[in-house]
Amino acid sequence: MSKRTLVFASVMMVVVLVLAACGQTAPAAPAATQPAPAAQIQRGGDLIMALVTDVGTLNPHLSSNAATMNIFYQGLEPLVWIDPQTKQAKGWLATSWDVSADGKEWTFQLRQGVKFHDGTPFNAAAAKWNFDHLLDPKLQAGAARNFVASVARVEAPAEYTLKLFLKSTDAGLLDSLHYGHIGMICPEAVKQFGDTEFANHFCGTGPYKLKELVAGNHVTFVRNEEYNWAPDWMGHQGPGYLNSITWRFITDDTTRTAVLETGEVNVAVNLPAPDVTRLMANKNLTIMSPMPSGVSQGLYMNVTKWPTDDLVIRQAMAWAADRETFSKVAYFGIWPPTSTTLSPNTLCYSKESEIYRYDPAKAKALLDGAGYKDTNGDGIREKDGKPIKVLFIKEASFLGAELIQSQFRAVGIDVEIQEVSAAGRQDAASKGLHNIMPGGTISGDPSFMNNYFMTGSPLNVAKVSDKELEKLLLDAKAALDVKERCKLFAAVQKRIMENVYHLPLVVSPSTIGTRKEVQGIRFDVTGWFMVLYDTYMQR
């Protein structure tokens, strides 16, 4: 099955599951991410989008808020774009690029005739300034700096030629460069107003530009009439269709859903799963859940703490987990079940790593074989008088922990659930207090897995220290040939599953609702972030 059919199949699977769950008349198929023929498109209209939390700063170099990408992509343009279907890089502010044989020297040819919102030209010097500024140790940079962590230095040998010199080969570089936070900002605006104040003088090259930022309340962008440098993979040329785009911050799930229903906003993100089936039946709304790429939502196993340090117990849990039921009950089928660590829509996803399916008999047999028996009749197995009891530490936002608990108990593994705050979870993760902890990642390129499975990484919740896995991960990061990379990543996925460092449960797409008149929203490769250049309002 090609990736394209797979994406389609996953989307359809969601629709089918939802239909099965609610028994309603068929809602419209998921909205096309490609715009309709130009004849139907009208210019004008004001789009209002409800985001969840205050975006904080509008300076992408300081921002650590992923959701802000929904704003950055409208005002800023990165050097490249990753095609969500083929996963191939396409030019955005860069038109072409070359990489040296050792993969450490990248040369980008930049698009000409591009102007920043303040009228200054975009060229290699401006691009170099962007990288230098983001990498400047004096800058209190946000998480965006991670994206360019492999860059050692930058040169601008010609007006439209940019050279990146890397510390080590990074096959995921183009993916890292496609995020909205690496969109090019005006050097002059930062020099004039400073990094903090840049938020109020936000300036890039995108089709929409800042009109006003009312902190904590809303951000409004208006059309950039001078925009005429759209890359060819976009749906049209010239300025954007919308008069303005406003983002509002509505933390409360119920309220965010209500204002979409009233029409107070045209688009709302992160719709709560329990409401989605009801909203799909609403004729005025379109609900989208593009399949994401990244690590599936699942459970990280702490391999350094008893009893999850025992491979047999981890394997037993992998056989005992009923993902179908979990998906249906906890996430109303909106989040489809999966048995692979990389979710199916990810580059280098390997179907062969799908080792486990729901088979409680197999789980019991494994535990029996390893000498774990229920001797005192309480339903929980023990060995040498020690019962198997795992500590499950999670945040309130993870649904369905009790279901997992009952599924594990059914094969004789006891589960204690401990609910903590985000800060508490991070603390527990770094101290290794947990046995199992939910986790998953939204990301484009699979090399982000390095941070989750390398010894000593702060995000290594499974506390894995596996030399062979590390070698595979590092080799994959250095392999520029995509076939070679995917072979290595297939081995990575197999090794993770064989050792059950991560127990995948469901794929976690974003759920976005729009009013029917909103057409032509484009999603990035992660399926979570929107590009609204081709978006228009149908009247």
Binding site: T57, S64, A143, A144, N146, T196, A215, R248, A258, P458
Partner: protein, 311 residues
């Protein structure tokens, strides 16, 4: 009077300072690392290298011993600088100034609704004591106290925004966006006020000077305005003063339901993200507001009861 106010103000300084020390130390005792919270955001999108974490800790001075961090913060505070938010990367002072207007607006509107409604209900209940009107008013007050404000808020949104489409459900700016949250806040507040007013009015009505006034042949309305209400004001103002203070920080839930990003929301977000500078700054400002309010309440007493004099 002025001397009294000044003395009270001076006392406010050690109070605010103690609160600052207390907040600072509890914040650092609770588990969690602001840098990890910031960089390893829960969506998991951003990967984070150990080097970046270490670098960021250094930049924020989070590796220094606690007393050093406190001294630095207190030193900046004396210069009027509350520091930079770790999460939002903007000056705390600016954030507070931006977030205070929605909160004050809501608090004042809620207080107005609550006081009018509470006074009305309480007064009617007291005058029609032990009748069905009294019972009705007190049941309304009971419902107001018992019903969670987020639930009442949703009911209002459901009725006035979703079904009737009369008023917008969310946002800040304009009277139309203020009505629903103000009613939500005011309803809960009115319940407390109504019960208090009822009790106070009943007590005053039983006083001998009311009997005397009636014996003089004064009209009931005159008795009510000149003798009863004036004497009821003292306990009511005390309660309203306290309520105002707690509403300033405590309307978080209503702010969340109606998506009004006020100071309460700012504080909750900051606590969850372990954004130390913001938590410290907001708490300090809140504490000072509280102290000032109490002083205001105290010096307003003579307006209603000339017997109270401050020296």
């Amino acid at each position: 009077m002025l001397g009294y106010a000044l003395r009270r103000l001076l006392w406010g300084i050690p109070v605010a300072f103690s609160i600052a020390v207390f907040v600072f130390s509890t914040l650092h005792l609770v588990p969690g690392d602001p840098v990890l919270m910031l960089l390893g955001s829960s969506s998991g999108l951003f990967n984070v290298t150990p080097e970046l974490i270490e670098e960021t800790r250094q930049q924020y001075g989070l590796n220094d011993p606690l007393p050093v961090q406190f001294a630095r913060w207190a030193g900046n505070l004396l210069r009027g600088d509350l520091g930079l938010s770790i999460r939002i990367k903007r000056p705390v002072t600016t954030l507070i100034l931006e977030r205070i207007p929605p909160t004050i607006e809501l608090t004042l509107a809620g207080m107005a609704v609550g006081t009018l409604l509470g006074f009305g209900l309480g007064l009617i209940a007291a005058l029609k004591r032990d009748s069905w009107v009294d019972t009705l008013c007190m049941v309304a007050a009971l419902v107001g106290v018992s019903m969670p404000s987020f639930w009442f808020g949703f009911l209002l949104i459901f009725l006035f925004s979703l079904t009737l489409a009369w008023l917008p459900a969310t946002g800040y700016g304009g009277l139309d966006r203020l009505i629903l949250p103000a009613i939500t806040l005011g309803f809960a507040l009115s319940a407390v006020t109504a019960r208090l007013v009822r009790a106070a009015v009943i007590e005053v009505l039983a006083q001998e000077y009311v009997t005397t006034a009636r014996a003089k042949g004064l009209r009931e309305t005159v008795i009510l305005y000149r003798h009863v209400l004036k004497n009821v004001m003292i306990p009511v103002i005390t309660i309203l003063g306290v309520q105002f203070g707690s509403l300033l920080s405590g309307s978080v839930i209503i702010e969340a339901v109606f998506a009004r990003q006020g100071i309460g929301q700012l504080l909750v977000d900051a606590i969850l993200a372990k954004d130390f500078p913001v938590v410290q700054g907001v708490t300090l400002v809140m504490a000072i507001a509280y102290v000032l309010l109490n002083i205001l309440v105290d010096i307003s007493y003579p307006l209603f009861d000339p017997r109270i004099l401050y020296k």
